[in-house]
Symmetry: C2
Subunit: 596 residues, 2 copies
């Protein structure tokens, strides 16, 4: 058993300990579900009153007693009807609902955070800990004394089964670790993560907003957010132009017919918005740009000489997500995908991937993301029916991808059987400075769609052939990338990304005109600059600029107007230094150009 | 009576002459409507067979006879029921339908190209010309002999009353002029316009496409079109940055609630797409960006110090247009509006307009549009109830606008009573090289919306006040601007706008590598360059590049590789000249930078 698996068992046991403690404090408590999550666990409760943060130490106290008493986890297998009766007697309505669902719909429908509860629907297991009885697959520790150090971290509301039509339960989050040192490190990291939370910083730094009249999951990028968006796109376009990408612009809707052609209507509809009528036709917001790009490919006849043909677009797409799953910019209903569809001949796949990986690395370098790995999803050789294309084609493609990863010394993990039926895939998973994972670039091979849609090229022998399509998400979604960058840099973006690069601070009213002239000069060289000419102390203005994470602050008073040097203060540094104007201009231009 | 009015009477009479001629050739013809249009007239017919271009001389011949015979236009007033009977007897079903509509719905519903047919619904007038009888308000010439020179120009299909659910009629277009010279000039201009038609050129030059699976009126910009779009936006952003605009990015949908707040749901809904449900809420594609920008304004408290606040966005919007009214890029259902909303205090209006007009002029200069005028829509002082804000506010605003137009020596025409109820408006109407009019920039004052939505700022005295909003459409729509630019330049864009600026043509296989090196060099300085390395003659390659309207063609053979100079051929010029590479680079960079 891996350390992570052991930790998960302890955390799941801690969730039961917490539930048992809550039952002691609230004998009428009804229990939802209580799974482990990354770094901890939670449990959802229906309680007679709302919890407040002051309740957490009391619950922790009750938990400590259970741990101290080394209360036993007692597992038992029951027939499903027997279990229904047990939980009915205990008045645990939510557990009864789960059991009834399990009984009626079989095994697949009852899931706890994506994991199936039971494999055989006619038998279930329960675990007792004191008076607390849970419907639970286990496994658990032998007794509560084996729960090492734990801490309850927060309270939140959560709809039963994530559905806003259901009652809102109270969720308590907790964490458990092998020792105090690990817990402390985790809590420190968590505190830092809270400070960096892009939802909080995004508001403070005026990067994005939501508005209830516009709708859930539909972010509006404020001027600072638009700068981030433009800078990311500019970086991507620069990288693409070196290689030879063709950018297009396509509408955000299409007839539902288009998605019937591609198969999305059948297989992807639950992620799409509802259709609407125009004249006698049915239209829908697009969930991805692929079908639009296929129609562009099909618009003229193509030859092997045209391949690789690389069609790129910063295409805004609309995907339905449950409202409970929306979160800041990381999970939205309106997202701009920095997509490309690359049409290649079979013998171009390897070189194209080589190029793509280089491009992704160039982007990561600009974002100062050094720690990442690749997850390589391959086919399952045992399940031949599942996949389009023959074994040899799959093997060749997968081998090529693996070779390129090795060639580039990129950490990767193989995920056999994880590939979609139409081709293998590379996903780049990035760790930010706090070590958290963000899914970024995706490079998906598609052996299938060209044939389905009749996309062809004339090969060297003059015969029609189907191109292989590579779907490339450069960052995946601009919105999530902005969220990641905010958290990764804690809002203190490198100069090239900073919405305001230079803040010019006037000492007194006499200096304002000179500040403005200077600002125009910096603007002319392409820097983003603001003048703070408010009637406030210089100290105040510097504090404001620091809060806005502006990388350079220039204080302009009599000395600076008379002298030949600028007084510069850098973000996060208390000392001011002097520098000649031209030297400063050279410095900042270099930083912008090199994205250093 | 103006010359134009006289010409219109002659053209409308010519339409009747044409109808009478058609009736002679096709005694069973049923007649739709036959109005005058810019530069001519048309008439819609239901005929027993499809017309072909060979029919036009025959109809012209029959028209000439009617003209030669000086047949009389005989007008007569009839009661509406009498008229119904007359047209029933003539089996003119379409006329009967019009009359029945007129009878049931009163005067406003029966329109002929936007003009009301009759003022009193109980009386109508008819005009006879030989056997042809028309429901027609007149006036007409005295007799057909007064029709000077005419020509039938084309045949098209047109749904009865522009509705695709109705039968498709056959439309014949014609034109009539005072003399042969004017007709010849018109026909020549028309031929040139046909050559420049952006629908034709847009396809040939691979600028945009439509696809039936995506939908009507939804253009896809191909790589060349995307370049045009980007260059237009780059120009606009440069002009905006000099002034201090803040760019935002907002989603393409919103809850219908938003449009209920602004009043669009009530007043603008027929131009909007159908709504669709998300969870329990109703969403809709946005028809304009204004409401999104208002929510951004409202997102924080604003002070007089923040004004003018200029929020800009290249915002894609979706507007319902009848499918019969769609045409290339000029009339679409998906359009990107280069919008800005400028929030000003009352005493900033004049300076802001001064600035806006300067910005519009800078844009026109870059597009080489020299011939334009402004239409100034003002309020009607007699109709005080119609307008929000008091007489003094209106007068002051209108006077300011007129002063600025005079100050800038801009031709303008006053359109009293044409203003919307919420404020006066400037529209820039541009003439392209063929003298055709294109509606471009719009600068609309809005005294109303800030109050309706509760948008405020704290004024100098510390009191809340409502800003005045200026709606700015820079070009109006990027799609229509691209259409206009294609036609204005006949696809031969100035260097800065050209999708491909340099075409490098290899003489033989040995020269390809050198061509590619050169291409990389030009790419590095920011030029858009393509290598034509096909195995074809240089002559062929030059012809292709000329057809693509590439401004610079470089032919690379042994001499150029060995020598120190490039051989350049410019678009439309048959001769090649020699130039040092650096000189060429300086030249093209200057043209790009100065948009010359």
């Amino acid at each position: 058993m891996s350390n992570q698996e052991k930790l998960n068992i302890m955390r799941h046991s801690a969730a039961h300990v917490m539930a048992a403690a809550v039952l002691k404090l609230f004998p009428d408590a009804k229990f939802g579900i209580g799974p482990t999550i990354e770094d901890g666990f939670y449990y959802d409760f229906e309680l007679p009153r709302n919890l407040s943060p002051e309740d957490l130490p009391k619950i922790e106290q009750a938990m400590s007693e259970i741990v101290k008493n080394k209360e036993k986890f007692a597992g038992q297998e029951l027939g499903i009807d027997q279990a229904v009766k047990l939980f009915k007697d205990l008045k645990q309505d939510y557990k009864v609902e789960l059991l009834n669902d399990l009984k009626q719909k079989g095994t697949t429908e009852v899931k706890e955070e994506g994991q199936e509860l039971f494999e055989k629907p006619d038998k279930v297991s329960i675990y007792k800990l004191g008076d607390f009885v849970d419907l639970c697959r286990g496994p658990h520790l032998r007794h509560a004394g084996e729960v090492k150090v734990f801490k309850l971290t927060s309270i939140a509301g959560a709809y039963w089964r994530g559905d806003e039509k259901n009652p809102m339960l109270q969720r308590i989050y907790g964490t458990a670790w092998e020792n105090q040192k690990e817990l402390d490190a985790y809590l420190k990291n968590r505190e830092e993560a809270t400070k960096r939370d892009h939802r909080k910083l995004g508001k403070e730094l005026e990067i994005f907003m939501f508005n209830e009249n516009i709708g859930k999951g539909l972010p509006l990028l404020l001027p600072n957010g638009r700068v981030l968006r433009e800078e990311i796109l500019k970086l991507e376009t620069e990288i693409e132009n070196r290689v030879g990408y063709e950018r297009v612009w396509t509408p955000h809707i299409a007839k539902s017919d288009l998605y019937k052609l591609t198969g999305h209507w059948e297989h992807y509809r639950e992620c799409m918005f509802s259709p609407f009528g125009v004249d006698d036709e049915t239209y829908v917001l697009r969930p991805m740009t692929c079908p639009h790009h296929y129609m562009i490919y099909k618009n003229k006849s193509r030859s092997w000489r045209d391949l690789p043909l690389r069609i790129a677009e910063d295409g805004t797409c609309y995907r339905y997500e449950k409202s409970g799953e929306l979160g800041g910019l990381a999970r939205v209903r309106c997202l701009t995908i920095d997509d490309a569809h690359i049409f290649v001949t079979p013998d171009q796949v390897k070189d194209e991937y080589r190029l793509l990986i280089k491009m992704v690395q160039q982007m990561f370098e600009a974002f100062k993301l050094k720690d990442y790995y690749v997850s390589l999803s391959t086919h399952d050789p045992k399940d031949k029916k599942k996949y389009i294309a023959d074994e040899a084609t799959w093997n060749k493609a997968e081998k090529s991808l693996e070779e390129i990863l090795k060639e580039n010394k990129i950490k990767y993990e193989l995920c056999p059987g994880e590939a979609a039926f139409y081709g293998p895939k590379l996903d780049f998973i990035v760790h930010d400075v706090l070590g958290r994972e963000w899914q970024m670039s995706t490079l998906q091979i598609d052996f299938f769609m060209a044939e389905r849609l009749g996309l062809t090229y004339v090969d060297k022998k003059g015969n029609p052939a189907h191109p292989i399509i590579v779907h490339r998400g450069f960052t995946g979604s601009l919105e999530r990338t902005i969220a990641m960058l905010i958290e990764h840099f804690a809002g203190a973006f490198p100069v090239w990304l900073s919405p305001t690069q230079i803040k010019i601070i006037s000492v007194g009213a006499d200096h304002i005109e000179h500040c403005r002239e200077l600002a125009r000069e910096f603007m002319d060289i392409g820097a983003r600059v603001q003048v703070d000419d408010m009637n406030e102390t210089v100290g105040n203005k510097i504090r404001k600029a620091e809060k806005e994470r502006v990388p350079y602050m220039l204080v302009i008073g009599d000395k600076e107007i008379g002298g030949k040097e600028l007084s510069i203060r850098e973000r996060g540094v208390k000392k001011t230094y002097k520098i000649k104007k031209q030297e400063f201009i050279d410095k900042i231009l270099k930083q912008i150009k090199e994205r250093s």
